[in-house]
């Protein structure tokens, strides 16, 4: 058995090499991975893996590995690695651990052997893979968050902004992309101990490692930032643990605000803690605003009496009460159940899909909807939460009773000749009894308190009922109901109850 040595520096190189090794079926134990630029530095010693350089290893990465398998064993098909795994491997490759290439190869090898749980954090290798990816993403995130640019004087020429950062993993390339997208045509440079990038406003340039300039730039912007940082802090909530939890300690030294934190903490601990105000603000001269309470009131429409109704609990969960709408002396009054989601927002009855259907019913019955007064038995939308939506909930008798107060007022002022009850709730409300069913009264007009009452379906029922046939039938029932209501307008009231 022959050991193989692979020297790679980048993920692309590793991927090439790994593919080749997989095709030849070479198990991870037989491969020694190294990074050539590190090798240069270390004069060949394999310091990172701790393994002595394998004497029989092929040192030149461009020479394909010698066939290690018996000649009768064919090459294996090229691996099919799912994208999600590939992305994880690519991210993990940025993690500065000495055995990164060997580890990645081990993962991909196991996957290829059918051990697909290698990708799960519940697997030992999987857990490590996830941890490496997480560390890399965390580093990217930290760099996005905690890089601080300083502005250079215009005379100095580009770059206008410079930042120094000490990343713990190899994330500079992707982080540079982030700042390219953020800074537009403004030029900047990010220097790190290993490498630096310069953006001239149009193109990224990789420059070599930089040593941090001892004399930091003066930047007036930074003074304002510190002012801001100090003032948004609420001393009454002093909680340094959480602060330190979020920003790891090694990050603080390059953050300008780190210098003022100890003072802020001690001031807060010394007493400013009682009130949330920042000390410097508290020391200034204050002013009250001389304005009479009445003049401070915003101009707004007085809420209607209906909106102030507290006869039942429903108002609490609705946006507004929805009263009736239509001609003040309409001959026909539609009574629905309650406003729905859209009616609740619009403050008008029947503006949603049910309202549209009602329009079509009127049209089919040859009745002008604008001559009809439309209202609901209950004026506030009753609903229950279903995920992020409001699901209509049928009002109970107690609520119907409570809200009848308002329907009564509407009946008394509009004085309709015919009331069309849309659905069971409306019927219960209009007849003021819980002991009626829709089925028994459909299509049978009755006299109640000196008016005709016609019962038909609620438009939502027509929208909801399954099957085209049933929908059409329900729609026609509504049309018939409306026609009947219209005919009743001309029927002498002495006609005995039907």
């Amino acid at each position: 058995m022959m050991a193989v040595r692979r020297a790679v520096d980048t993920f692309a190189e590793w991927r090439e090499a790994a593919r080749e090794l997989l095709v030849h079926g070479i198990p991870p134990e037989q491969v020694t991975w190294s990074a050539p630029h590190m090798d240069d530095l270390l004069a060949g010693g394999d310091l990172f893996t701790g393994a002595p350089p394998a004497a029989e290893a092929s040192d030149n990465p461009s020479i394909p590995p010698p066939p290690t398998e018996p000649p009768d064993e064919p090459l294996r098909p090229a691996p099919h690695i799912p994208r999600s795994l590939m992305e994880m491997l690519q991210a993990a490759a940025c993690c500065r651990v000495p055995d990164r290439w060997a580890f990645l190869y081990r993962v991909i090898w196991r996957w290829q052997q059918g051990e697909h749980d290698v990708q799960s954090p519940a697997d030992e290798d999987g857990a490590r893979l996830h941890a490496m990816v997480k560390a890399v993403h965390r580093e990217e995130h930290d760099m996005h968050a905690y890089i601080r640019f300083r502005e250079r004087p215009e005379e100095a020429g580009p770059p206008r902004f410079v930042a120094w950062y000490e990343p713990r993993h190899d994330v500079l390339p992707q982080v540079a992309e982030h700042f390219v997208s953020r800074m537009g045509k403004v030029s900047w440079m990010i220097a790190t101990p290993e490498a630096s990038v310069l953006w001239d406003g149009h193109t990224l340039h990789n420059t070599g490692p930089l040593v941090r300039d001892a004399a930091d730039l003066e930047d007036t912007g930074e003074a304002l930032w510190l002012t801001y940082y100090r003032s948004v802090f609420n001393p009454a909530r002093l909680n340094t643990d959480v602060m330190h939890q979020h920003i790891p300690s090694h990050r603080w030294k390059n953050l300008p605000e780190a210098k003022i934190v100890p003072q802020m903490v001690s001031e807060a601990a010394l007493g400013a803690r009682k009130v949330g105000q920042y000390e410097a603000v508290g020391q200034r001269k204050g002013t009250t605003i001389p304005i009479a309470p009445d003049d401070a009131q915003p101009e707004r429409q007085q809420p209607s009496k209906l909106d102030e109704c507290r006869r039942c609990e429903l108002w609490q969960f609705a946006t507004q009460a929805v009263g009736g709408e239509g001609p003040k002396r309409a001959k026909i009054m539609f009574v629905g159940e309650q406003p729905g989601d859209q009616e609740d927002l619009a403050g008008q009855p029947f503006v949603g899909p049910a309202g549209k259907l009602l329009d079509r019913v009127c049209e089919a019955a040859g009745v002008d909807r604008d001559t009809i007064y439309v209202t609901n038995a209950v004026k506030h939308f009753k609903w229950e939460p279903r995920g992020k939506r409001r699901l209509h909930k049928t009002p109970v008798q107690r609520e119907i009773e409570a809200c009848h107060y308002w329907l009564d007022k509407e009946l008394a002022s509009v004085k309709p000749t015919v009331v069309v009850a849309l659905g069971a709730t409306a019927l219960k409300s209009v007849l003021r009894t819980a002991n009626v069913t829709l089925k028994d009264s459909l299509g049978k007009p009755l006299r109640h308190e000196g008016r005709w009452v016609v019962t038909t379906y609620h438009p939502s029922y027509v929208l909801r009922v399954p099957g085209e046939e049933a929908k059409r039938a329900a729609f026609n029932t509504m049309v018939e109901g409306l026609k009947l209501a219209h005919d009743l307008l001309h029927r002498p009231t002495e006609t005995p109850d039907a």
Binding site: V97, S120, R128, M132, H141, A145, I147, F149, R150, F161, A163, F179, S181, R182, G184, K185, V186, W225, Y228, Y229, R230, S231, F233, N234, P235, A236, L238, N239, T240, D241, V242, M243, H244, Q245, H246, I247, S249, L255, E257, V275, G276, A280, V281, G286, T287, T288, I289, P293, D295, A296, P298, R300, D307, Q316, F317, T319, D344, L345, P385, G387
Partner: protein, 409 residues
């Protein structure tokens, strides 16, 4: 007054607003474009102050002059605080300069009410318009909406801002009437409703002009009135359902200088705020309802988190067989989060779940032990009383690492 002095006053005055997130905006970038700014939908916290809260936006008031007299607010007209007012230019410049130095992801702008609601709203909109149109700023903008403002101004605000918010501040109508006499829950709800109507319109007609792509949010102050957590959560649930809010922020009331006697002189425990955030997260992410979490009046327990509280009160669902239960129930197990629930489901397709898997997935084993069954584990505490379990599982007084090091990969 110097810019620095104004910044001091107007940042100080804005810090009582808990909203800070810069997430949810559509992806934008400035590659090869004039102007500045990018959003990637995720939002970044650029720093943390010693109160443990993040800095992700330049959060300031346009002015802290205010004609209202809300008792919980440091800027109320009868409060004796130093007052200042930024010019539109100053806000634009500060936002720009801070953004270039990577201190912030954008701007959160609020204001005291001056002259009239419309006038104040116009000023706020003007800042956003100038940033977007004159300076091609593509960073995040969050505008606090003045509830009584003309809906046309709110519509305009939504054109420029990523997020709009209308703060309800107090969870009940009674408290608003008492502590914020110039405000009205009715108009606040109407403003939220009009924002939702616009958001719906945009959903239904994708070609409609942009409108607050990061949605709307609100804030409730905790502990300034007597409302209990149950009321607060029910109000939150009502707001989420009715107005498609992205977030409800909870802000523990901070005593303010020369506090009026109508509000408490001591803050509520910050842990209460924390529990509300946890419960809120369960409402938004886990499909819990406020009624499930808080079946009776009162506050959330401080010694255990709300999910554990629910599990202890609903032992009939447990222990739950992790090899059979569906994802949403697994996510209800204390110590197992949404992500772990999903990972368990994924793993279950490959093999049976064993106790060791839970440990590798870094679940809180102590917490979940009484509530799960795996291929090789059944809880011994099956019959233990909820009280006993609670005593065992309650949070130890919290001790946090001062300088937690990154775990080596």
């Amino acid at each position: 007054m110097e810019l620095k002095d104004k910044l001091e006053i107007l940042a100080d005055a804005a810090k009582y607003d808990a909203s800070c997130a810069s997430s949810g905006a559509p992806k934008r970038d400035s590659v090869d474009k004039d102007g500045l700014g990018a959003t990637n939908g995720m939002g970044i916290c650029h720093s943390y102050t010693p109160d443990g809260r993040c800095v992700s936006l330049l959060k300031i008031l346009l002015t802290n002059f205010c004609v209202y007299d809300c008792q919980y607010c440091v800027n109320r007209r009868t409060s004796n605080v130093p007052r200042a007012r930024f010019s539109v230019d100053e806000v634009v410049k500060l936002t720009h300069d801070f953004y270039l130095r990577n201190y912030i992801d954008g701007l959160f702008l609020s204001s005291g009410i001056i002259q009239s609601s419309d006038y104040t709203m116009e000023q706020l909109v003007d800042v956003a318009r100038r940033l977007r149109e004159d300076h091609q700023f593509r960073g995040y903008i969050h505008l606090k909406t003045i509830p009584d403002a003309d809906p046309r101004l709110i519509e305009l605000a939504g054109r420029y801002a990523d997020r709009l918010s209308v703060n309800i501040e107090l969870p009940t109508q009674d408290s608003v009437t008492k502590l914020a006499p110039e405000k009205s829950v009715h108009t606040i709800k109407l403003a939220m409703g009009s924002i939702r109507a616009r958001l719906d319109e945009k959903d239904d007609h994708p070609k409609a002009p942009v409108f607050a792509p990061a949605g709307q949010s609100t804030q409730m102050i905790v502990g300034a009135d007597a409302s209990d957590d149950r009321t607060i959560l029910h109000t939150a649930q009502t707001l989420y359902g009715s107005y498609k809010l992205k977030r409800v922020y909870y802000s523990a009331f901070s005593p303010i200088p020369q506090s009026p006697s109508s509000v408490p002189s001591a803050p509520p425990p910050l842990l209460r705020e924390h529990r509300l955030y946890q419960a809120d997260f369960l409402l938004r992410g886990y499909g819990f309802t406020a009624k499930e979490l808080m079946p009776a009046a009162g506050n959330l327990a401080l010694d255990i988190d709300p999910k554990l509280g629910w599990a202890l009160a609903n032992r009939a669902h447990f222990p739950l067989d992790l090899n059979r239960a569906d994802e949403s129930m697994i996510a209800r197990v204390p110590g197992i989060g949404l992500r772990t629930a999903k990972r368990l489901i994924d793993l279950r397709r490959l093999r049976r779940i064993r106790w060791e898997d839970l440990s590798r997935l870094r679940c809180s084993l102590k917490k979940l032990a009484p509530f799960v069954i795996t291929a090789d584990y059944k809880p011994a505490q099956g019959a233990a009383s909820s009280d006993l379990l609670r005593r065992n599982l309650a949070d130890a007084p919290r001790q946090m690492n001062l300088w937690p090091e990154l775990q080596a990969a």
